[in-house]
């Protein structure tokens, strides 16, 4: 099994490298970023000086090889915008995004699985119908809209939470709620249908024949089996949150990786883009490893497939 993960890691490293190379060349195809950093009325000589200072006047392949050399020392270069090492900026921003992702996905998962399981227990009951409608709404609403509405309703009108910022626990409530909404909605649906099929399975019948009480049947016998498709979807969503917390970070002023990436892309801050892509890709790879481990833990049948 360790060999399986080693193989996975090797392939991921290769894809990662290909990704970084692709980002390197594609971003440079957008031309010199000088214009974005200098005021409109900057004279040509300032542009030339800027490009020379950052090495953009060298031929692309030369830039690439020196980039590779730096890469081996984990040096992604300096941020054009802030003049600080790109990798530092990314690593500084990463914990915020990771925390956001972690809390959101965990809350979404817990709430959604329990709701889905309870809804599956009595399909087409009032609870089930309400849960289905709410989950579909949650999964369909665009999160920038929800964020703004959330601020207007809960912060401005009801004054239950502050509008933005990162300092206190209260300031994390809205961002996490906004981020968790879509995954929760999706997972409720997946959990529900998975649980419905599990609940009609033969081994649940056996449990009832053994005299097990309903709650035990639901949460002990059925749930673990029903979780497998949920884990896949949840992992997918978590990877998406790492990438897509941009909007939430921008609106609520969270200095995370998403915001950093968008700003860097707008400003053609190549070094930060590269560092960000690399770090995000590694995070997603690790996420996939976690999903694999979760599968192994949940379903003993997969342990032999992995050998």
């Amino acid at each position: 099994m360790a060999r399986h993960f080693a193989k996975r890691a090797l392939w991921s490293a290769i894809s990662l490298f290909a990704l970084v190379v692709a980002v390197f060349f594609m971003s440079r195809m957008t031309g010199s970023p000088a214009d974005l950093y200098l005021p409109l009325d900057a004279p040509t000589e300032m542009r030339v000086q800027f490009e020379h200072l950052h090495g953009f006047d060298r031929p692309v392949y030369e830039q690439f090889f020196s980039f590779l050399g730096d890469l081996l020392r984990f040096d992604f270069g300096m941020s054009l915008r802030q003049g600080l090492p790109a990798i530092d900026l990314v690593l500084q921003a990463l914990p915020t995004t990771l925390l956001l992702a972690f809390y959101s996905i965990t809350i979404a998962l817990v709430v959604a699985v329990v709701t889905g399981a309870l809804a599956a227990w009595r399909p087409n009951s009032i609870f089930d119908r309400i849960a289905t409608v709410l989950s579909l709404i949650g999964a369909s609403l665009p999160n920038f809209w929800v964020a703004i509405i959330g601020v207007i309703v809960f912060a401005v009108t009801l004054r239950w939470v502050p509008t933005s910022g990162t300092g206190s626990v209260a300031q994390w409530v809205l961002p996490i709620a906004v981020l968790a909404l879509r995954p929760a909605g999706l997972i409720v649906q997946v959990a529900r249908s998975s649980m419905i099929s599990v609940l009609s399975s033969a081994y649940v019948k056996t449990a009832r024949a053994k005299g097990a009480p309903s709650r035990r049947i639901l949460f002990v016998h059925a749930l673990r089996n029903g979780m497998l498709p949920v884990i896949t979807v949840a992992g997918d969503q978590a990877a998406g949150i790492i990438n897509g917390a941009v909007i939430v970070e921008t609106i609520f002023g969270f200095p995370g990786v998403g915001k950093l990436m968008i700003d860097s892309i707008n400003y053609r801050d190549f070094a930060v883009i590269q560092a960000g892509v690399m770090v995000t890709a590694i995070a997603i790879f690790l996420m996939n490893v976690l999903i694999d481990l979760a599968y192994l833990g949940l379903d003993p049948r997969t342990r032999e497939e992995m050998v």
């Binding site: 957008t30 031309g31 970023p33 214009d35 974005l36 950093y37 200098l38 005021p39 409109l40 009325d41 900057a42 004279p43 040509t44 000589e45 300032m46 000086q49 800027f50 200072l53 941020s79 915008r81 802030q82 003049g83 915020t96 703004i148 601020v151 207007i152 912060a155 401005v156 004054r159 502050p162 509008t163 933005s164 910022g165 990162t166 300092g167 206190s168 626990v169 209260a170 921008t250 609106i251 609520f252 002023g253 200095p255 707008n266 053609r268």
Partner: protein, 501 residues
């Protein structure tokens, strides 16, 4: 089951206990919500929007300042200046001033700052204001310095307003994120909560009412406005018109920007009748009070009325679609390809509702027979179109532009927009060139008149653009404070001007 309920209840209580009390801010502390977090807050970048608003005259002071009312030059760290010829000025420096780190303010500090500004090691953006000019310094004594410019600058005192004086201990190899200056506020910290500054007790001038300020960054305008509404912030900087719904606290002000559409004068736009028609078919009044603020002003030229060189006799274009159509017909009869499709290039992010504005204008032009296609671009691509050298395959097009000249004099606009060798000029008019060259070398009345005449020729005889509006911004100011925004407020917000009610 009961256990689960009890545990949930306990966690909710624990969370509630950690809730911060809302609105428990100190009496004289201020929070300002800005749209974008700057890359740095170096004292040699005070002319950059987003940086100046925090730094200029708050943390780092300049030698002189420009009055927002009339554009006159006011002393700040320089108290007197005298033109001693040969491009040099003798400048007397204010006494009794110290930097936030205790270093005394003297001629050496000024020389240091000027040298740092021009250094090739770092990209000080204020340098663009002195592009092509080499500034030299000569220390006479502790509070006297001779500053020279080559070539000699008529507007030297204006140039002094671009020079921020930073502590001699400022590193010279990187742009600073913790500036040290002489201003009424000292930099405290820049963390996830924003930029923090606090009143500096050793300030040479009058102590401001504000004791400390925090700048927070929220890209979403509705959020900035909401923060002031519930008291989380005191000032919401630059909010969109649709969020400025409360006349008690939302203050509109001319923000110093002027918009226009540059005409790339290739066929059919090389025919002056076509350019006239473009201007005549545009109903400028219609957009005011609807998708643009009713406080915006119709522009006749690319600088505001308070700028030296603005020609007050120029009239806005009338709205005359019939005449426009007539001109087009005449041109068409002469073989000008007026039916060719013309691109209208807009740049994303200039002002709120801009796409709707451009669409409205496009419709007005279509109504008289133009065929115009609107295209929105992002800054990098747009920059390639507006700066020399222009792409060789450019066709006839209209390019949306926005320009702010807050430096009191038309010189900062005229050359690079209208002179034959101007970086962003489409023109090649000998008379205009001559007037600009003359004006730049003149002072006083002669200067003013030369610029005004140049503007007249441009507006009436060349018509290189479709002038639009002097733009208005909104600022939401919390009711616990008083602040009067002015033409400079977007790039310079002096905390000392804020008082508490």
């Amino acid at each position: 089951m009961k256990k689960m309920i009890r545990m949930t209840g306990a966690s909710i209580l624990a969370l509630a206990a950690m809730w911060p009390a809302l609105g428990a801010a100190q009496d004289t502390a201020l929070t300002i919500a800005l749209p974008a977090e700057p890359a740095n807050i170096d004292g040699c970048n005070t002319t950059v929007t987003g940086i100046g608003v925090i730094v200029k005259e708050n943390i780092v002071e300049t030698l002189t300042t420009i009055s927002p009312e009339d554009g006159s030059i006011q002393p700040r760290l320089a108290t007197e200046w005298e033109d001693i010829g040969d491009g040099k000025y003798r400048v007397s420096l204010r006494e009794g001033v110290t930097f936030h780190d205790g270093t005394p303010f003297d001629a050496e500090a000024v020389a240091f700052s000027i040298e740092r500004l021009q250094s090739q090691e770092i990209s000080c953006l204020d340098r663009t204001k002195i592009a092509g000019i080499e500034i030299t310094t000569d220390i006479i004594d502790e509070h006297t310095i001779e500053i020279g410019a080559a070539p000699a600058q008529v507007l030297m005192p204006t140039l002094f307003s671009f020079i921020g004086v930073v502590s001699p201990n400022t590193p010279t190899d990187a742009l600073s994120r913790s500036p040290v200056g002489t201003g009424p506020f000292a930099f405290e910290a820049w963390n996830a909560d924003g930029v923090h500054v606090a009143r500096y007790d050793g300030y040479w001038g009058e102590a401001p009412q504000v004791s400390e300020a925090t700048y927070v960054f929220r890209g979403e305008s509705a959020l900035r406005a909401a923060m002031v509404e519930i008291g989380e912030a005191d000032i919401a900087h630059d909010i969109a018109p649709q969020d400025a719904v409360n006349p008690d606290i939302d203050i509109p002000f001319l923000n110093g920007e002027t918009t226009r559409m540059r005409i790339v004068m290739l066929p059919p736009l090389d025919d002056i009748r076509v350019r006239e028609a473009l201007n005549l078919a545009f109903d400028r009044e219609a957009l005011l009070g609807t998708i643009l603020s009713d406080r915006a002003q119709i522009a006749t030229q690319f600088i505001l009325p308070n700028i030296n060189g603005h020609n007050p006799d120029l009239e806005p274009w009338p709205y005359d679609p019939a005449r426009a159509q007539q001109l087009l017909d005449e041109a068409r009869a002469d073989g000008v390809p007026v039916d060719r499709e013309i691109r209208l290039v807009g740049r994303i992010g200039f002002f709120p509702n801009q796409e709707e504005v451009l669409q409205a204008i496009q419709q007005m032009w279509a109504a008289v027979g133009f065929s115009v296609r609107l295209e929105m671009m992002e800054s990098a691509d747009w920059l390639r179109l507006v700066n020399r050298p222009y792409p060789a395959d450019r066709e006839a097009m209209l390019i949306q532009e926005q320009h702010d000249n807050n430096n009191g004099d038309a010189a900062f606009t005229m050359r690079f927009r209208y002179h034959t060798d101007g970086q962003q000029s489409e023109m090649n008019n000998a008379e205009v060139d001559r007037l600009i060259d003359t004006a730049e070398q003149s002072v006083g009345e002669e200067r003013t008149l030369a610029f005004q005449e140049a503007n007249r020729i441009i507006a009436d005889e060349v018509i290189p653009a479709v002038p639009m509006y002097h733009m208005v911004s909104y600022m939401r100011v919390g009711s616990s404070i008083s602040y009067e925004p002015n033409v400079l407020s977007l790039i310079q917000l002096e905390l000392a001007d804020i008082t508490f009610n």
